[in-house]
């Protein structure tokens, strides 16, 4: 039988900001693209996000931050993943993120950053191209 690996992704909201409209819209777009999307809800710590991503065995973790704490939160998630020996979960981020931060976030291991104005179709296309479901 032809085995079809389904893409599993997690959408997470780290930190204190309480605005998850963007995260929900992204989650919906991923679902419509045929992915299985685990949504964590608001106010997550880097630790709780990492544990959830491991328990759910996702291929990609997308985080949304609108309150300016991304320079701590995003790299911290990557650091905790690596600390636990997880190398195969693609991490990306989105939200209100100044251009000058993007390069530094990428250096910290965030694969891609999506800022306001990014088109949903482009984000889905990026995920399809850069995130592959696990090999059997």
């Amino acid at each position: 039988m032809v085995k079809e690996r389904k893409l599993r992704v997690m959408v997470a909201k780290p930190g204190l900001d309480g605005h998850d409209r963007g995260a929900r819209i992204i989650a919906r777009a991923f679902r419509d693209a045929g992915f299985e999307v685990v949504y964590t809800g608001l106010h997550q710590t880097p630790e709780s996000i990492v544990q959830a991503a491991i328990q759910e065995d996702v291929d990609m973790l997308g985080m949304s931050s609108l309150a300016g704490a991304h320079m701590y939160l995003f790299p911290e998630v990557v650091r905790l993943l690596r600390e636990k020996g997880v190398e195969d979960i693609v991490v990306c981020g989105g939200g209100i993120i100044p251009d000058e931060d993007i390069q530094r976030l990428k250096e910290a291991g965030i694969a891609e950053i999506f800022t306001p104005g990014s088109k949903l179709d482009d984000i889905v296309k990026w995920v399809r191209e850069h995130v592959k479901p696990r090999k059997a």
Partner: protein, 321 residues
């Protein structure tokens, strides 16, 4: 493979997570791992929680986890959400209500999508239950939306099944899939601070009592509990009711327990045979090209699908009708 088995038995979360993924994706190799793990199952107590969307199942499960953890029990949670039949995608949001347990090493939470392939949900969820059982969880809570036959079958494989409703559902309780009222061991009226809780309680009592005469020989009388899960009211009583039901299954030499186990094994085995057969036969027919030829023959009006399927099936099973 042996390595994986040892890691699951040692409770390694990453191995368990990957294994459940492989089960869901139907990777053939997992069968061998599951075979080896089966001998290590049977320790966990499985509780099914089902009900219509929006009745508060996830919040209730979250509170149950908190209570079980206070009692120093380890817990596995399997939260099942529907796959969109149109896109094949799914939003798995049950975790939102349970995230406070994510740092607790005594708790493993996993979201599953129904995926919609025949028999898939039931079998993969049962396999996932076996994995969590083998990893040493004391309790496994399985949460499903009680609307489809697959979901009903899943809760049937639990030792205690909880059906959650909310006040004012009244006649809507009828909308709960026929046959599921009969499998309820405990009924919860959640959001019981809302108007109409007592009316719903009376209606439920009547419906259950009617079913009682037909199905239950008056043995276990399912309690109906008023709960406000958000405020943690009535959850302790719910856990007491679960323990009472567990004691009931075990009393008189565990007859009831044996009965349920037999039922579960019977259903599980029948389903595995069915899936295996369909998979094998269909694969062969597709690979051999007979399947496509039959499609074209029906399309061309040369035969009908009834005759075509008879011929195809019996050609593989090696006997005539």
């Amino acid at each position: 493979m042996t390595n994986n088995v040892e890691k699951v038995l040692a409770g390694d979360v990453r191995t368990v997570a990957r294994l459940i993924r492989d089960i869901d994706d139907r990777v053939p190799e997992v069968r061998e791992t599951l075979k080896a793990l089966y001998a290590h199952t049977g320790h966990a107590y499985v509780v099914g929680v089902t009900g219509a969307p929006g009745v508060g199942k996830s919040t209730l499960v979250d509170q149950m986890v908190a209570h079980l953890r206070k009692a120093v029990k380890t817990v596995g949670v399997l939260a099942v959400d529907p796959t969109s039949p149109f896109t094949g995608g799914a939003i798995l949001g049950d975790r939102i209500r349970m995230q406070r347990h994510s740092l607790d090493e005594g708790v493993y939470i996993r979201s599953l999508a129904t995926r919609g392939h025949f028999g898939g949900l039931t079998q993969s969820t049962r396999s996932a239950i076996d994995v969590l059982d083998a990893m040493g969880k004391d309790y496994i809570l399985v949460e499903t939306v009680g609307v489809g036959q697959d979901e009903v079958d899943v809760v049937k494989s639990a030792q205690t099944t909880i059906i959650v409703v909310i006040p004012g559902m009244g006649d809507d309780i009828q909308a709960i899939k026929a046959g599921i009222l009969e499998v309820g061991d405990i009924f919860v009226i959640n959001k019981a601070d809302r108007e109409g809780a007592d009316k719903t309680l009376n209606e439920l009592r009547q419906m259950i009592d009617m079913g009682q005469q037909k199905f239950r020989e008056g043995k276990w009388i399912p309690p109906i509990l008023k709960v406000e899960a958000v405020f943690d009211r009535g959850v302790a009583e719910l856990l007491e009711a679960i323990e009472k039901h567990r004691a009931y299954l075990m009393e008189s030499g565990g007859d009831q327990h044996l009965l349920r186990r037999t039922l579960r094994i019977r259903e599980e085995l029948a389903e595995m045979i069915k899936n295996r057969l369909v998979q094998e036969v269909l694969d062969q027919l597709i690979e051999g090209g007979e399947f496509e030829r039959a499609v074209e023959a029906v399309l061309a009006g040369e035969t009908d699908p009834y005759t075509a399927s008879d011929n195809l099936v019996f050609s593989k099973l090696g006997r005539k009708k």
